[in-house]
């Protein structure tokens, strides 16, 4: 069963009609088969029309789509021998960030990412992908492990942001995020990041200060959610659409701003309509980026990464 977004309503209606007719056409009536074909091409046209001109706000909704492939789907399809590793060795385990060792297309690697959860129970278990300090500290620990064994690090970003709570603040949410960013820029092994859904603020950059950063076509990456931005700057959360426009949070805008290195295309109608293909494309892009970094000395990987981020916002940009 597909979950449709508000702006997909006309498509949903057509697809519903097609389904009904198909049910009828079991009787083998020819004109129904014709009608189905006609409606199908109409639905596809509509889908193409809608998705070729998605607004930044609509892209935000697609990026948050509940059926969009999540970290665990990528692991299942792309990584062999995945061995999840838990805990920050100080306080606890935070499943908003999942990480471990695994073999990606032959390469042993440390793979870390936000997981939002696929159903209600999963979403609660993974805290909707909103990590607490333990999640970031676990990520740092796994990056240390990668460095010790000279393994590349792959991160998949998909988070509304870091979790705002009393315990998180008490245990140093800021410090944990700062250390994770520091570890990312400091690593002496390749670090490759893909924003696969929502790149929410500090919680996202904590895993994404990478040598190579890609975004899926309909993913978003931003300093604050459009809703949060609207309620602060417009004093009204209803202005989220305006905020989404102003923030320039789409993959296309961020590529123009040279913040992301590449955009990975999604199938018509978004990643959730054909997850297998998207997951493979993400795998291909990671492999390409990884091959380009193999053989580069660790010190240089670190220097390049630092220089790249230290140059962002200097005179001349934009």
């Amino acid at each position: 069963m597909n979950t449709f977004l508000d702006f997909e309503k006309p498509i949903a209606e057509l697809e519903g009609k097609i389904k009904e007719l198909r049910h009828l056409s079991d009787d083998g009536e020819l004109n129904i088969v014709d009608e189905v074909t006609r409606l199908q091409s109409k639905a596809e046209r509509l889908l193409k029309q809608t998705y070729s001109k998605l607004t930044p706000w609509q892209k935000t909704l697609v990026a948050r789509h509940p059926d969009r492939p999540h970290f665990c789907d990528y692991i299942e399809a792309l990584v062999e021998d995945f061995s999840p590793l838990a805990g920050d060795r100080a306080f606890g385990e935070d499943l908003a960030i999942v990480g471990g060792l695994g073999r990606f297309r032959g390469y042993s690697a440390v793979i870390i990412g936000h997981e939002k959860g696929a159903d209600t129970e999963g979403r609660v278990r993974h805290n909707f992908g909103m990590a607490r300090p333990e999640g970031y500290r676990k990520a740092v620990r796994l990056m240390d492990l990668a460095e010790r064994f000279c393994l590349p690090v792959i991160t998949l970003v998909d988070t509304p942001g870091a979790y705002p709570g009393i315990g998180a603040e008490e245990r140093g949410q800021s410090e944990a995020i700062a250390r994770a960013i520091q570890k990312c820029t400091d690593l002496r092994v390749p670090l490759i990041s893909v924003v696969v859904g929502e790149g929410g603020s500090g919680g996202a950059i904590a895993l994404a200060a990478a040598n190579h950063v890609s975004m899926l076509e309909n993913s978003v990456y931003s300093v604050i959610s459009p809703e949060g931005c609207a309620s602060i700057l417009w004093r009204s959360p209803d202005k989220a659409q305006d905020a989404a426009d102003a923030l320039k949070l789409t993959a296309q805008d961020l590529h123009k701003l040279a913040i992301v290195d590449s955009i990975i295309p999604e199938p018509l109608g978004g990643a959730h309509r054909a997850p297998e293909g998207v997951i493979e494309s993400v795998g291909d892009e990671i492999e390409r980026a990884l091959r380009a970094l193999i053989g580069v000395p660790g010190g240089e990987l670190r220097a390049r990464r630092r220089e790249k981020f230290m140059a962002i916002g200097q005179t001349g940009l934009s």
């Binding site: 705002p164 709570g165 603040e169 800021s174 520091q182 500090g202 700057l233 053989g295 916002g313 005179t315």
Partner: protein, 320 residues
């Protein structure tokens, strides 16, 4: 407090000068006490009644920090203005112009250098009055410049954040100032120079979650609000009462995030002492750390079962 009265006060008065009549009264926001303007300035903007530390502008701060009140500020290169052409209810360029007119500053950071307790120091101070001290490209540039200056002068780097966080109007570019500032201070630390953060009211959001939490030493001013998420956001999320003193400097010290809460009148002395201990170690030989071995993930000639070969070479003779 002689040095303050003799050398600093005239300086402050010269700076704020005519516009501040001495007969002005201030109301302490904490205890409500009416304080004579001159008394408040003399007491470093700390309420004489309840010890509440009020916010302080960057120039006032610099004046009471360096030896003999002597320091030089540096130019910060102009960065791209309004790279996103951002407009909410107002244009970002208009907001910038207003803030510049109000503060007389290009952006929310001032970088200065001099000596503190005899040790060379580069100081980066935020101006909360400039768009809430928010961190955009210009503030990031200030931090990068400050870090580079510390490296070239073999000086300590001291940051005084006071910021609501990232500057939303610069979108992703403001988020990118987080890794940018982190990489900048890391280079100072790599050179063996001290990096000290003095957390002042308020330090929140993307600023706390980047360079401000990575100091060798974290000092904080009494009562300063320091945290990641805003209190309203937390309350809306958890729908619980926040504990007493939540996100205050003392609370952070209790939770292990801050080394010491230092009253403003002791700050200069404390910084001078710490810098002396770190930078002038006395009659002991410098302990030389071993160079880190170079890591290389090298491709294999035969792309067989194991595609990557792990080699560790000596840092002194890099290869591969």
């Amino acid at each position: 407090m002689n040095w303050i009265t003799n050398s600093v006060l005239p300086k402050i008065q010269a700076l704020v000068g005519r516009e501040m009549p001495d007969n002005l009264w201030h109301k302490c926001p904490a205890c409500g006490q009416m304080i004579f303007h001159r008394d408040l300035e003399q007491n470093l903007k700390v309420c004489p009644e309840c010890d509440h530390h009020m916010r302080m502008g960057p120039i006032e701060r610099l004046a009471i920090l360096f030896d003999d009140g002597q320091y030089q500020t540096i130019e910060i290169a102009k960065t791209a203005l309004d790279p996103l052409k951002f407009r909410d209810r107002k244009r970002y360029t208009d907001r910038l112009r207003e803030a510049q007119a109000k503060t007389g500053r290009q952006d929310a950071i001032v970088v200065a250098h001099g000596t503190i307790g005899g040790s060379p120091a580069v100081v980066a101070v935020f101006d909360f009055a400039f768009m809430g001290g928010s961190m955009g490209s210009a503030v990031g540039e200030g931090l990068v410049r400050a870090a580079k200056l510390a490296e070239t002068q073999n000086a300590a780097l001291i940051a005084f954040p006071s910021s609501g966080g990232a500057r939303m109007q610069e979108g992703i570019l403001s988020l990118m100032q987080m890794p940018r500032s982190v990489a900048a201070v890391d280079k100072v630390k790599d050179k063996g120079l001290p990096y000290i953060v003095v957390l002042t009211d308020p330090t929140t959001g993307g600023v706390t979650a980047s360079f401000a939490m990575l100091g060798d030493i974290h000092l904080a001013e009494p009562g300063a609000i320091i945290g990641f998420a805003g209190q309203r956001v937390i309350q809306e999320t958890i729908r619980e009462q926040l504990p007493d003193g939540f996100q205050k400097a003392e609370y952070l010290r209790e939770h292990g995030m801050v080394d010491a809460v230092v009253p403003r009148r002791d700050l200069k002395q404390t910084l001078g002492r710490i810098l002396g201990l770190l930078m002038a170690p006395g009659p002991i030989a410098k302990i030389v750390a071993l160079p880190q071995p170079e890591l290389v993930i090298a491709p294999r000639n035969d792309p067989g079962t194991t595609p990557a070969d792990v080699t560790e070479t000596d840092g002194a003779s890099p290869s591969g």
